[in-house]
């Protein structure tokens, strides 16, 4: 039975692959390679918040570092052994106040900026999962991360997970553009980390927990899904593909796949029934 089930699954995967290959507009070969040195292409609706914070902090950091280096080099040349050292313990009230004031200014500007922006961005956007639960447009996907692949599950027309019409894919996640996509992540074996470099988001899949992640793509195309947590021998091969489709293409794809899945549904294939009832709140 087991081997028969596997055969059917392989056949289904083969059919899906063939279908994908012959359907125009769907899943062209690979993601577009990145070029140059810097952050990868940002295709997320909100990724620019992270990019801006990284870049602005980078400017601060580079300025501070350059000041430090100039200070050190200048001191080494201007105050070398020919220079008479000043006898100063630097513990006068004036010196202490200057040191504390300088540290405070750097702290409030650089760290304050990080703190303010990270706090507003995480609570308003990146970790604000609850607000999306009531969004009727949001797409829900369950992801089962395991050694060494990503299984994804979509509801069919019935809107419920772990039912007959669920669409199940392997290392192939397709989402509509311009719509929030919510993921719930689990792992049956070791820790994995679902990572979308082009969407600036990452979340661990932790055995025993259901973790949440959401994103919203602003461009169509194909993008890498990576595993960011060392998960064993083939960690480096735990690669998936995110395909961002137009809303219509996505709708057609889900409907089509759901119909195929319903026809091929095998109630005895327990391995395929890893889904769960969507957890609105953790």
């Amino acid at each position: 039975m087991n081997s028969a089930a596997r055969l059917i699954k392989q056949l289904a995967a083969f059919l899906a692959a063939t279908l994908a290959a012959v359907t125009p507009g769907l899943a062209s070969a690979t993601p577009k390679p990145e070029a140059g040195i810097g952050l990868p292409r940002d295709v997320s609706e909100y990724g620019h918040h992270i990019d801006w914070l990284i870049e602005v902090t980078m400017v601060f950091v580079v300025i501070l570092f350059i000041i430090m280096v100039i200070w050190m080099v200048w001191a080494c040349f201007a105050h070398d052994e020919k220079h008479t050292a000043e006898y100063d313990h630097g513990d006068s009230k004036h010196s202490v106040k200057t040191a504390l004031a300088l540290s405070a200014v750097i702290f409030f500007v650089v760290d304050g900026n990080l703190f303010y922006n990270s706090t507003t961005d995480t609570f308003r956007l990146f970790w604000n999962h609850d607000a999306l639960e009531s969004d009727p447009k949001a797409v829900r996907i369950e992801v089962n991360a395991h050694q060494w692949a990503w299984d994804a599950r979509y509801t069919g027309p019935d809107g419920k997970f772990n039912t007959k019409d669920d669409v199940i894919t392997l290392n192939d996640i397709r989402v509509p553009v311009g719509v929030p996509v919510m993921l719930q992540l689990v792992s049956p074996d070791v820790i994995h980390s679902f990572y979308l470099p082009n969407l600036r988001i990452k979340q661990d899949a932790m055995p025993g927990m259901t973790n949440r992640l959401w994103f919203q793509a602003k461009e169509t195309g194909e993008f890498d899904i990576g595993c960011a947590q060392h998960c064993g021998v083939h960690h480096y091969k735990m690669k998936g593909m995110l395909t961002v489709l137009s809303p219509d293409e996505f709708k057609n794809w889900v409907t089509e796949q759901s119909a195929i899945a319903s026809r091929g549904y095998d109630p005895k294939d327990n391995e395929a029934h890893w889904g769960w009832e969507w957890k609105s709140r953790n």
Binding site: P33, I37, L39, P40, G47, I50, L53, I54, T57, V61, L64, F65, M68, V69, M72, C76, H79, D80, E81, H83, A85, E86, Y87, D88, H89, G90, D91, A99, L102, A104, I106, F107, V110, D111, S118, T122, W127, D189, I191, S193, N198, R200, I201, K202, Q203, D204, M206, P207, G208, M209, N211, R212, G226, A228, Q229, H230, G232, V233, H235, K239
Partner: protein, 588 residues
């Protein structure tokens, strides 16, 4: 001091050189053991760099011998063991013994005016327990399925039988436990020695910053290594005795445990560990920039308070390693806030160092160069930490090479350059011989430049999204364009490794054939330089009376009366204007 009797020096070879209770001998033993494993860990790093530069290609020279079944190329499973053991060896079996084992042992009693550690026998046991842990590491490479491969962080369940079967992982976890026992023994000794055996007049605020750094490190070790020990013990139970403390998911039976528990235990230890490894270099640097700028350490008390504040904060920021584990956002927010607060004392330390060298009379000796190099790399490492301590930027940068570059600049580069600053500085006192200064300068420039390039290369790769620990990064389309960058980084790494020959040659030549060192070659006032090089078995014939702090340089009054720009901590300033005949004489 009634506490400290003068014991006669042992005469047998075994008691003198092997099972010695003399802190100066144990320091050298730790130094040799640490340097040996530093070379070992460095060699593993070169294999990793080869793999990222030329994935799947046979490793030249050593490849056919090490990877027989794959034609000399590194396989995914051996790659995992290589990066895991590189991290564990460098942290627990190279940097820790060199900085804490060797210099903690050597500097603390000499610099505070003690005849030995508070517990000399415990000190000896600490070293030999450490040797047992090193042996366990070596053995782990020769068992079936090879050494540990779950990453240096040893995250469960990957590190349990679920992810890493084989005896090697168990042996390495056991080695970490055993080395933890050795560290705790050493830590108790250091803490007690500083509290109990300071010479009269050696108040806490007159202790050299080196002793402060080592002491705070010892306190953190005593408090937090037991947590690592517990984590390791539970992991051994999970691995060998069928418990399920850390196992969840489909491998869990009857409820199982929780993998996140391991991360909490690991990082409660792991974050203080970062400071355990950086506090001693901070101490070295605070002292050395003052010694070689011939100027008092700027706001010394402020530096001490900053180091203490960082030590306290280090215990409550560990959660920033776990932002993407599914942590409660409010908890994450608290950890981020505490993490960012650490930048205040860190900035103060930097400002004090920079103020110390400003308007000094800088002598660019080899130890001073290494101290300035430590400030340089730690500046880069500390600043890049800002991006990782902040939640929203960490969502992107977490578990990328940016993290690897960041912690290598702090824990590896700063600890590496800081350790060498200490080695070049105390070598004359330790071995009674001088090191070659021009070879030392070559060693410095090659090390400082290439270590910066290697870890900055990692930062740039991580900025582009490159995950860490990938056997073949170029499987990913978005990383393919980084191969030239990684290849260059590898070349820099190979040059860095090759240039260490200048140190090896210098070290051996100086240990066995260096010119005899003077008593006080650097002309500074801390207590160890009042002793002959090397000091006698019991250090001080008479326990000195301390009159002042360690950084009394360029004092106009001293210049007028003694005609030099430094004065010993135990020296009494004569009331008359006559210079005494014997400078730096031990107060007797």
């Amino acid at each position: 001091m009634d506490l400290q009797h003068i014991h006669p020096e042992p005469t047998s070879f075994v008691r003198k050189h092997i099972f010695s209770t003399d802190h100066k001998v144990i320091a050298k033993q730790f130094l040799w053991a640490g340097l040996l494993f530093l070379a070992f860990g460095g060699a593993l790093a070169m294999l990793i760099r080869w793999q990222w530069a030329f994935p799947g290609e046979p490793v030249p020279v050593v490849g056919p011998m090490l990877f027989q079944n794959s034609g000399g190329a590194i396989t995914p499973s051996s790659y995992n063991a290589i990066f895991t053991m590189h991290g564990l060896i460098m942290i627990f079996f190279a940097i820790t013994p060199i900085m804490i084992g060797a210099f903690g042992n050597f500097c603390i009693p000499l610099m505070i005016g003690a005849r030995d550690m508070a517990f000399p026998t415990l000190n000896m046991l600490s070293f030999w327990t450490f040797v047992v842990s090193q042996l366990l590491v070596i053995v782990s490479f020769f068992v079936q399925l090879g050494s540990a491969a779950a990453g240096w962080t040893t995250y469960a369940p990957l590190s349990t039988q679920v992810g890493t079967p084989g005896l090697g992982q168990t042996l390495v976890v056991a080695a970490v436990f055993v080395t933890g026992v050795a560290t705790i023994m050493g830590g108790i000794n250091y803490v007690t020695t500083v509290v109990r055996l300071r010479a009269p007049g050696m108040t806490y605020m007159r202790m050299p910053a080196t002793v402060w750094g080592l002491w705070l490190t010892a306190i953190l070790n005593v408090l937090f290594v037991p947590v690592l020990g517990s984590a390791a013990l539970l992991l051994i139970l999970d691995r060998q005795f069928g418990t399920q403390f850390y196992i969840a998911g489909s491998s869990a039976v009857r409820g199982g445990g929780d993998p996140i528990l391991f991360q909490h235990l690991f990082w409660i230890f792991g974050h203080p560990e970062v400071y355990i490894l950086i506090l001693p270099p901070w101490g070295f640097v605070t002292d050395l920039v003052s010694f070689f700028a011939r100027k008092p350490a700027y706001w010394y008390k402020g530096s001490v308070m900053a180091m203490t504040a960082v030590s306290v904060l280090s215990a409550v920021v560990y959660g920033h390693h776990m932002f993407v584990t599914g942590m409660n956002p409010m908890l994450g927010q608290s950890f981020m806030t505490l993490t960012l607060i650490i930048s205040v004392p860190a900035e103060l330390l930097f400002l004090n160092w920079l103020h110390t060298i400003w308007k000094g009379s800088i002598r660019l000796t080899v130890p001073m160069l290494f101290a300035l190099g430590t400030i340089f790399v730690f500046g880069l490492g500390g600043l890049t930490g800002l991006f990782l301590g902040t939640i929203s930027t960490d969502l992107y940068l977490h578990d990328t090479m940016f993290v690897v570059g960041h912690f290598h600049l702090t824990m590896a580069a700063a600890a590496f350059l800081g350790s060498f600053a200490a080695i070049y500085f105390w070598f004359p006192k330790m071995f009674g011989r001088n090191m070659n200064q021009s070879l030392g300068k070559w060693h410095f420039w090659f090390s400082a430049i290439f270590i910066t390039l290697v870890f900055c290369g990692q930062l740039v790769a991580g900025y582009a999204g490159h995950q860490r620990r990938l056997f073949d990064p170029y499987q990913y389309t978005f990383l393919q364009h980084l191969q030239p960058l990684n290849r260059w980084t590898s070349y820099f790494g190979f040059i860095l490794a090759a240039s260490q020959v200048t140190f090896v040659v210098n070290f051996f030549q100086s240990v066995f054939a260096g010119t005899k060192a003077e008593q006080n070659p650097w002309e500074i006032g801390t207590l160890e330089w009042t002793l002959p090089s090397p000091p006698v078995h019991h250090n001080f014939d008479v326990i000195p009376q301390v009159h002042r702090g360690p950084h009394e340089f360029s004092n106009p009054e001293v210049k007028k009366t003694l005609g030099r720009d430094w004065i010993g901590q135990d020296e009494e300033l004569p009331k008359t204007g006559k210079a005494p005949a014997a400078p730096a004489a031990a107060a007797s």
